[in-house]
Amino acid sequence: MPSELNHNPPYEVQAGDFSREFVEHISKTQDEPHWMRYRRLAAYDVYDRLPIPKTPNEDTWKRTTDMHVQDYWRRTDLRPFKLHRYHPISLSPSESAEHAPLPDALANRLASLNGEPGQIVQQDGIVRNVALAEDLERKGVYFADMNTALKERPELVEPHFMTKAVPVDWNKFDALHGAFWQGGYLLHIPRGVVLEVPLRVFVALSEAGRTDLSHTLIIADEGSQVTVLEEHLSGDTDTPGLHCGAVEIFVADNAHVNYVGVQRWNLRTWNFSTQRAIIGRDAQLRWVSSALGSRVSKLNQLSVLEKPGGHSEMLGLTFTHARQHLDIHTYQDHQAPHTTSDLLYRTVLKDRSRSVWAGMIHVHPGGQHTDAYQKNDNLMLSDHARADPLPGLEILASEGIRCTHGATAGPIDKDQVFYLMSRGLSHDAAERLIVDGFFEPVMQRISLESVRTQLQQSIDHKLAM
């Protein structure tokens, strides 16, 4: 539609303007390639068609035929969520050059860095800083914000961006992301390149009503290795915010990728994220998810093992308090024979918070000789907290299958508290030590000390609340 393309009036960004016009505006001001504009518009159509998901009451849920979709939203109530209060983001070159002050929380995190080889900092949907060590650049590593990558590496972005890993039509929020995404990054590790030190990504929300729609795309070529540590945080404790993100990871044959996500939004932020990895032959992916923040969070994390020898590991540390509601779905998708996966999520709940973990091990008819495991343990520090661990198996292959799962939930052991108190520890100190011990089996499986330290700090911070 050329007439639309040439029409370029000044555009006032308004809260709630998640419109088709705004999609056009984003694409135009950023001078995006046509295919991206069409992709955004196609996503917009899906977004426009789908209602905000409702939590069905029990009867409706039982009657519905669309079990899968309904079940996904069954335990999360979105009625208090008002999309019209949030701003879509438009980025133009002049806007990106503007420098609002970094919030203290973000500045402090950046100050703690010590010669990291690469980092990206994003605030209120706009990328503020991109840095990559020269020697990595020489090795052919590409690490840049997504809008730049669209121009510099379209041949990588086009085939991978919301095509195979995270499609736009799974739910309303994936479609919203596909239409209005802004910022995020592309990381490409060429064949055989091994990065020893993690790359760091910081995503912050600071102004009221801001939206973060950043897109993560990691492409690890054959035999490469990389760890990415991505932190999400708020500038203060009471500014409302919305994160609606997507993470896509492609792990080629023999490659190893560790993706560590530390989510520390404030308690007024809504968090929606779909994260999916496609794992090649003899390749390994390790997710580490630390979910500590947000008011309501809906995380969907999936590993697709599409070639023999692939391995996926999902480690989770979740810690909720106040009235937080964190709902996590995981999916271990065994499509090829001789694939393995492991999952350990540990959750601690305080106050009136609630967590849901719904895990699925899906072994396709082609997934002979699958070895899969999943375990979720919940430790309740309050009688009013609630945990719903929901393990699931769907096994359609029959040969050499080993699938095991387990889930536990229970209050803190009073004998343990008494034992520690009898040795001089206060009630709070005893509880903290027990919580640390509860998370330890996850921590000890994280080999990088810098990652463990960062996770421990965020747990300590949470314990002090």
Binding site: T408, Y419, S422, S426, G437, F438, E440
Partner: protein
């Protein structure tokens, strides 16, 4: 000045069932007492009540340490006053290393502030390690203990030795050993007994709570008390232990007109374990 644990006319119940029914007992720093009683006489109830286990209700009576009334104090505050309980069944705490836990505990009981270890500064790592290593050597405990998770996967003997190591590190004024010999073979009893013996001195008062006199062959108490039906019915010297060894509890029971055995309710594993 030597500190004294004084128990006066103590009444304790568990789930509304009276277990301790007017118990009197005093233990001074530097003294070794043995409190002997058959199953169900209230031995573990007394130990837990002294340490402040909230599962046990103190209905009346008085417990003081160095003149300080401890009835309303939290277990950690009692620990800070110098009271220590070596548990009959030490609780496992997976994921928490012995060294990490001990450093927090030692820092807490030695700190000046009264409200426990919330803001307590940890004693320097180097100093702590040196002290821990010395105590482990003294008690013949393997150094790998420090890295293991607290009581997690420990054998019965290892658990009791870990309790004695904690006793050595925390340096209490009064230590209660609750059935420290139970569930141990004779060699383990000897090792634990010898370890405790090394710690006994003018600054430590010990109350050994036991069913059998065998631990007393290694730790020789100056005072022996017989607990029956929630009361100390006889107190004396070594001859009481010999009498028990020879004739058991029945003659004493008869002398006090007690024929029925009161069954002490077990502390249940209150809740499903997370340690599966």
């Amino acid at each position: 000045m030597s500190t004294e644990l004084v128990i006066k006319d103590l009444h304790v119940s568990v789930e509304d069932q009276p277990i301790i029914k007017g118990l009197n007992l005093s233990v001074k720093q530097g003294e070794v007492h043995a409190l002997m009683g058959p199953n169900g006489s209230g031995k573990s109830t007394l130990a837990n009540a002294l340490m402040g286990n909230p599962f046990y209700t103190i209905d009346s009576g008085e417990i003081t340490i160095g003149g300080v009334d401890i009835l309303e104090l939290e277990p950690n505050e009692r620990a800070k006053l110098g009271l220590f309980l070596a548990f009959q069944y030490p609780t496992a705490i997976p994921g928490v290393s012995m060294a990490n836990f001990l450093r927090m505990a030692v820092s807490a009981v030695r700190s000046e502030d009264s409200n426990g270890s919330d803001t307590t500064e940890l004693i320097p790592m180097r100093e702590f390690r040196r002290e821990l290593r010395a105590k482990m050597k003294q008690l013949g405990v393997d150094e790998s203990f420090a890295r293991r998770y607290l009581n997690d996967g420990f054998s019965g003997g290892e658990k009791k030795r870990a309790e004695v190591l904690q006793l050595a590190m925390l340096e209490p004024k009064i230590a209660i050993l609750d059935e420290t010999d139970s569930g141990l073979d004779i060699d383990a009893v000897r090792i634990v007994g010898e370890s405790v013996n090394q710690l006994i001195g003018p600054n430590l008062g010990v109350l050994i709570i036991t069913h059998y006199p065998r631990l007393l062959n290694y730790i020789r108490p100056q005072f022996i008390h017989i607990l029956l039906d929630g009361r100390v019915v006889e107190s004396g010297g070594w001859e009481l232990a010999e009498l028990l060894e020879e004739k058991g509890y029945d003659p004493i029971r008869e002398a006090h007109g007690l024929t029925e055995v009161v069954v002490e309710p077990e502390v249940e594993e209150a809740l499903p374990s997370l340690r599966a």
